[in-house]
Structure formats: C-alpha cells, structure tokens
C-alpha cells in the first residue's frame, strides 16, 4: 500500500508536468491545426533560461524566495518571446501554404534549437573572430559586439549536461507511514495547479480566451467576425510557451540535470498526452497528462523500469487505433 501511494505521488508530479507541456501542444493545434514540433524544445529553452538567470543571480550560494520568483518570471518571459518569434518568423509566412510545409518548418525549428544549443560558446567564438578581424586591422561591427557582450559566458551550453542550482533547501517528509514527499513535490504541484486554473480562467472567462476558442472553431469565420486572428494565434503561442517554461522549471527543481535534448522525450510524451485527451481540447490535455504520468509511474514501478519510455508510444498506437479523436476530442468530418 505504501509503495502504491508512493507511485501515486510520483505519478501525480510527473503527470502535472506532462499536462503543462501538453497544453501548449493542444492550444496551438487548436488554433493552427499544426503540431508544433518545436514545443518540446521551447521547454528545454525554458530550463536553460532559468539556469542562466539563476547563475547570474548567484542562486546557488545565496538562494532566496525573490530570486526564485525572478528566475520563474524571467524564464517565462524568455520562452514567451521565443514562442512569439517562432510563430512570427517561421510559421506565419507559411500559414496559407500546404500543411506539409509548416510541418517541415516546425521540424526544422525543433532541430535548430536542439542542435543550436549544442554548439560551442558563441562568445568564445566571437572573441576568436574579433582576434582574426583585428589581425587584419578591422573591428567587429558594433551590433554584433553588443550582442556578444550581453550573452552569458557559456551560451550556447554545448552538449554536456548542466546542473540547475537549488532555489531552496530540499526537505523530505515521510507521511502515511513511509511515503516520501518533498517540499519540491508540494510546491511543484501547487504551482502547476495554480497555472492550470489560471489557464482555465483565461480560456473560458476572458475575451482573449473566447476569441481563441472562436479561432480554434473556425478561424476564417472568426476573422470575418472581427477577431484579429493573427494576434490571437501569437497570443496562443506565447501562452503555450510560458506554460512550457513553468513545466521546465518545475522539473529542473527536482531533477536538476538539463541538456539541449532534454525536450525531445517529454515533448513526444506530452504530445501523446494531448492526443490521448483529444488534441485541441484543453481539459483533455490535463487529463491526458495525468493519465500518462500515472501509467508510466505504475508500469515502471511494478514491471521493468526500462519499459517506461515505451508506454507513451504504446498508448499513442492504441489511441490511434481505437479512438483517434481522443478522449474529449470531437469527431470532425473532413470537408472539401
């Protein structure tokens, strides 16, 4: 029983993370009918943005609550900006082209982020380049030099994993006779729930949310009704990317190892969660994330732990075979 409860606790914390990422997939799919392949990598960027901000604030040696909040807000802002930029420069020019074109671009953006972050430090390379230029009696153009000066020392981080500094001390509690719960689990669950409730309010109680649902229902007609479709799509990307940043920081709190391809697997799994819940459906993504988190934790706990990564895949295939529209999805006939 204790063991089971422990798995429930772990499954819950894993599931909320998947749910947060899955929300980004599902919202973007809702408005654009595009699987945003780069979403898992936005999550990765969120973790690294947090890491750089935390390093700059010296969280490791003197952690404090305001700093933790600053890290959170900073990473969310960076991811929001990234999500906006990806939509603006990679997807928007292709909006009226065949879907395959956007899909390929999305894959390109995803790999660009993954492998761009594995490059050696830009600053070091910039310095080397400056040396070469000065050897020829030239100077680095001012904007380039300016960008180099602002960049963190070790950006991009390169392929080696980094370790996220602990924002506050870890406290382990043993409850119900043997179930381990840390303050990280509690904070992470609380933060995730707060953000999901906030999202629910945004989607169902605000003007923006209404517009978003209208665009998702039929973007052409929504445009005719005077809804600024492009702005709503941008807003959706920002919202999804902010949630991905939240998920990344919550994960980085309890599992501090971060690397440039950390977004690949969670991204895939969250996508499965979104499909399971019915892609395009906000409550579906939450339920799908939780179900996936629980089933992964249970399978890893009671059978072979290396099956863990296979669960999501098996689940995807089952959903696609049995109920392709997902749990909460609506069946839509393809119209000409």
């Amino acid at each position: 029983m204790t063991e089971f409860l422990q798995h429930v606790v772990n499954g819950l914390s894993l599931g909320t993370i998947y749910a947060l990422i899955a929300l980004g997939y599902t919202m973007v799919y809702g408005v654009l009918k595009l699987i945003n392949f780069a979403h898992g990598d936005v999550y990765m960027v969120g973790a690294f943005a947090g890491y750089y901000i935390a390093t700059a604030l010296d969280v490791e040696r003197s952690p404090s609550l305001p700093k933790a909040v600053a890290v959170f807000v900073g990473a969310m802002a960076v991811c929001g900006a990234l999500g906006w930029a990806i939509e603006r420069f990679a997807y928007r020019p292709l909006r009226n082209r065949p879907r395959l074109t956007s899909l390929i671009t999305a894959i390109g953006v995803s790999f660009l982020l993954e492998f761009g972050f594995q490059l050696p430090s830009l600053r070091a390379q910039g310095e080397a380049f400056r040396g070469v230029l000065e050897g020829w009696g030239l100077r680095l153009p001012a904007p380039v030099a300016g960008v180099l000066a602002v960049l963190p020392d070790n950006f991009p981080p390169g392929p080696t994993p980094r370790f996220f500094p602990e924002p506050f001390e870890r406290v382990d509690w043993t409850v119900l006779g043997g179930v381990h719960v840390s303050n990280y689990d509690v904070v992470s669950l609380a933060v995730a729930v707060v953000f999901m409730v906030a999202l629910q309010l945004i989607v169902y109680r605000t003007k923006f949310g209404t517009a978003m649902r209208a665009v998702s229902y039929d973007s052409r007609v929504a445009g005719l009704m005077g809804i600024p479709v492009s702005r709503i799509i941008s807003g959706t990307f920002v919202l999804g990317s902010v949630l991905a940043a939240v998920a990344a920081l919550l994960v980085a709190g309890s599992r501090p190892r971060i690397d440039p391809i950390m977004g690949l697997m969670p991204g895939l799994k969250a996508f499965v969660a979104a499909v399971f819940g019915g892609i395009g459906s906000v409550p579906g993504a939450m339920v799908g994330g939780l179900v996936l988190g629980f089933s992964e934790e249970m399978v890893a706990g009671y059978t072979v732990s290396s099956f863990r990564d296979g669960i999501a895949f098996a689940m995807l295939i089952l959903v696609l075979l049995l109920r392709p529209e997902g749990l909460f999805g609506r069946v839509s006939a393809e119209k000409v």
Binding site: L103, T105, I107, G108, L112, F115, L119, D309, L316
Partner: protein, 329 residues
C-alpha cells in the same frame, strides 16, 4: 514486341549497370570506392524515403529506424552463418549467396516493421506519421540498447566486409527502378492522387489508407536494404549509427532534391554526401546547417530544387531535355 518490352524493361537497367559497376569496382581506388558506397547507400535512402514523403505526400522522419532494423537483421544472419558454406559452391559464391539472402531478409523484416508502424499512424493525417516515426526511431534505439542478443550499446562487430561498389550499385539500380516503375504505374498514380488531394482521391475510389501503408512498407524495405549494405561496409553495427540525426539527413536530401523527384533525390544525396566528406571539420555545425537549410527552403522554395520534376524535364531541349507527356507532375 509490346509484351517482350514490358518484360525487359525492369531487367535492362540491371544488365547494363552490372558490367559498368563491376568495372568501377575493379578500377576505383580504395578511398574512392568508400565514397561511392556512401553515396550509393544515401541514394537508396533518399529515393526510398521519397516514395513516402514525395510521391505519397506523407511525412516520415524515422527512416533511420528501418535502416537499423534491416542492418541488425542482416548482421545477425551474416555473423550467424559466418562459418557456413553452402554445399557444392565455391567459398566466394557461397558467401555472396548468404549476403544476398541476408539483404533480402533485411528488407523483409524492415517491411514488417514498416507495416506495424504504418497501420496505426497512416489511418490519420500526415502529421501523426511524423511524430510516430520520430517516436519509433527513439524506441527502436532503446530496445536495441537493452537487448543482449543485439550487443546492447556496443553493437555487433566483426561483420564480413561484404559490401562493395557492385552490391551497392545494384541496390541503387533496384531502388531507382522500383521508384520509377512505381511512379508510372497505376499504383503510383494512386499515390500521387493521395498527395494532391486525399479527399478527392478517396472519392475516386482509391483505398487511401491501403496505398499509404503500402508505400510506407516499400519505403521501409529499401531503408532496410540500405542499412544492411552500410553495416557490411564498416563491418560494425551500433545503435548510435541510427539516431534521428541520420533520419534528418535523409529528410534534408529528399526535401532539397524536391519531394517527388527521383533524380532530384539522387543529386541531392550525392552532393550532400560528398559535401559532408569535405566538411568533416564542421561536423558539429552539420545539424544546425541542415535545420536552417530546411527552414530556409520551406520559406523560399518549398518545392526543393526540382519540385516534382525529373532533371530531364528541366534541361533545355538541345541537351536532351524532354517534356514527357505522361510524366508525373
């Protein structure tokens, strides 16, 4: 005349290519032969992926996984039958027969894998295929890394060095003949119809799911062939050879050459392979360059170099250019 010509059509390319390839094999120095084999393997991969991504208009990004399935199948067979010599045959021929059987088995097993992946994901629209194939690629790698019989992360070493220019060249000819014959056949027309408009194709009575799955299976089979050929050149097979970096490389070849153009794929595969040999020092930038190339292509020229045309459709007439009346457009 008609029937004989129909029968000969698929045979002639092999008959013409065999002596030429054999000559190349004898004459080419070792380092040239290595590049030729690398080019050949990539051409097989690109042309076979083109059947799915180009002809059928779906989007698979897990070609390396089927390559891995084929490579491991072939490797298990050739290492398993290493000491075996088929009765009444000289050693060389016996080895060649076993290698040929290994390649056929590689194609068969890879196509079964393609069937298993294709059936659930191709019932829906193309974007699911992309993510399922990406996931499948990762899963296959995890499975291999955890299977003792497949040598886990270290893989299987000491494979016979069976692949040479002749084998690879015949593989290329087989792939290109397959693709070309498919494209101009009734079945190929069905694939093109699906690419152009799935709803319309279905309304015309085309079994869209069935044809998509068939195209996917064919493509997987030839990826398996490429895998079998590749590992018997480097005499080693490890799971790290088949990551999504490899899949991505093939995707870039197909997209660059033009989705739907066989000659485009061949040219892109050749150019990229040779370029990679030259730019070995830039290895860490390779994937970044690929991804920028993909995005830039989609934003500026989403059809790739040749679009769905073949090279002779774009040449001027006096250079042998022709405007094929029934060509695939």
């Amino acid at each position: 005349m008609g029937r004989l010509r129909l029968l000969l059509r698929p045979v002639v390319p092999f008959a013409v290519a065999a002596p030429m390839l054999w000559g190349l094999q004898v004459l080419a120095p070792q380092d040239v032969a290595i590049i030729l084999v690398a080019i050949g393997v990539n051409v097989i991969l690109a042309v076979s992926l083109n059947v799915v991504n180009g002809f059928t208009g779906q989007f698979s990004i897990g070609h390396a996984a089927f390559m891995a399935v084929g490579a491991y199948t072939a490797a298990l067979i050739t290492t398993g039958f290493r000491e075996v010599q088929i009765a009444h045959l000289p050693v060389g021929i016996s080895d060649a027969v076993i290698f040929a059987l290994a390649l056929v088995a590689a194609m068969a097993v890879a196509s079964v894998a393609g069937l298993l992946v294709g059936i659930p994901s191709l019932r829906l629209r193309g974007d699911y295929l992309a993510i399922v194939t990406l996931g499948f690629g990762e899963i296959i790698r995890v499975v291999i890394e955890n299977t003792r019989a497949l040598g886990q992360a270290t893989g299987i070493s000491g494979l016979p060095a069976a692949t040479n220019v002749l084998w690879t060249g015949m593989g290329v000819v087989a792939t290109v003949v397959m693709a070309r014959r498919l494209l101009v056949s009734t079945q190929g027309r069905a694939l093109l119809a699906i690419r152009e408009d799935e709803v319309a194709a279905e309304a015309m009575g085309i079994d869209t799911v069935g044809w998509k799955v068939r195209a996917f299976v064919i493509s997987a089979a030839f990826a398996g062939l490429a895998g079998g050929l590749l590992v018997h050149r480097i005499m080693l097979v490890t799971p790290r050879m088949f990551t999504f970096v490899k899949s991505m490389e093939v995707v870039v070849m197909v997209v660059l050459g033009g989705m739907g153009s066989i000659t485009g794929s061949i040219i892109a595969a050749t150019v990229l392979t040779v370029a990679l040999e030259w730019l070995r020092g830039l290895d860490q930038y390779r994937m970044v360059i690929y991804s920028i190339l993909l995005i830039a292509l989609m934003l500026t020229r989403p059809t790739g170099l040749f679009g769905t045309k073949e090279i002779w459709d774009t040449l001027p007439r006096w250079l042998g250019g022709r405007r094929a009346a029934g060509g695939a457009r």
